[in-house]
């Protein structure tokens, strides 16, 4: 079964550094998403992306965050200057369409630790 792949699985960085989290969505999917889960807390929506632009973003997704689809297969999340509170598991997801009965397929996540 096709799957969403994310790299790296773990990333450790110093506060203030830039990180890029990478995702390869399922190949015929058109809608891409980032979610995150801080340890012990709920999974939270960050951003959705379609047709090379952001469709929707949450309050968490401030100017420190950006997303990009640099080529036909990758979808990246960049955090410009990481803070301690950015430590979380970041999940990429993709879907073929939006609308009723559309499933989101999630990757296995990147655990980001900011020291």
């Amino acid at each position: 079964e096709p799957e969403v792949t994310q790299t790296p699985s773990h990333q450790v960085t110093q506060m203030g550094q830039e990180v890029i989290l990478r995702c390869v969505p399922i190949s015929n999917h058109l809608y891409f998403y980032w979610y995150r889960q801080i340890l012990g807390q709920k999974v939270e929506f960050l951003v959705s992306f379609y047709n090379n632009e952001i469709s929707e973003k949450s309050e968490i997704f401030d100017d420190q965050f950006s997303v990009e689809r640099p080529d036909g297969s990758n979808f990246t999340l960049k955090i410009r200057s990481t803070k301690l509170e950015d430590s979380a598991m970041y999940f990429c997801a993709s879907s073929q369409r939006q609308g009723l009965a559309e499933k989101l397929f999630f990757g296995s996540g990147t655990q980001l630790s900011v020291l």
């Binding site: 969403v4 929506f45 959705s48 929707e56 559309e102 296995s108 996540g109």
Partner: protein, 111 residues
């Protein structure tokens, strides 16, 4: 603001027993999802419930949706150890796959 509440948050049950996980949400939505997460793994889609009265079953799991009560249930029948995982419900806030998740229910099935 849409809130999604699950209970219980932790459930320890014996193999062979039945139990129900509840998911309440605060504003109208016609799309509710159930996901399973194994430790360190991704979120696996279990069910998508689209309308009032929807019921879906897969193996020992059955999910239902009551949009009037803003309540979904995930019923476990004759639990087995392999069902041990964290189960999340999520509601689509905007029909754009902007999901609001519950806190998750950690299920441990003891043999």
């Amino acid at each position: 603001e849409l809130k999604v509440e699950q209970n219980p948050l932790f459930l320890s049950m014996q193999e062979g027993k039945n139990y129900t996980i509840y998911c309440n949400y605060s504003t109208t939505s016609d799309r509710l999802y159930w996901y399973r997460q194994d430790p360190g793994k991704s979120l696996e889609s279990l069910f998508v419930l689209l309308s009032n009265g929807a019921v879906k079953q897969e193996g020992r799991l059955m999910a239902s949706l009551d949009t009037k009560a803003r309540l979904s249930t995930l019923h476990i029948t004759a639990a087995v150890h392999d069902l041990s995982a964290t189960y999340f419900c999520a509601v689509d806030k905007s029909n754009g796959n902007k999901l609001v998740f519950g806190a998750g229910t950690i299920l441990r099935v003891k043999s």
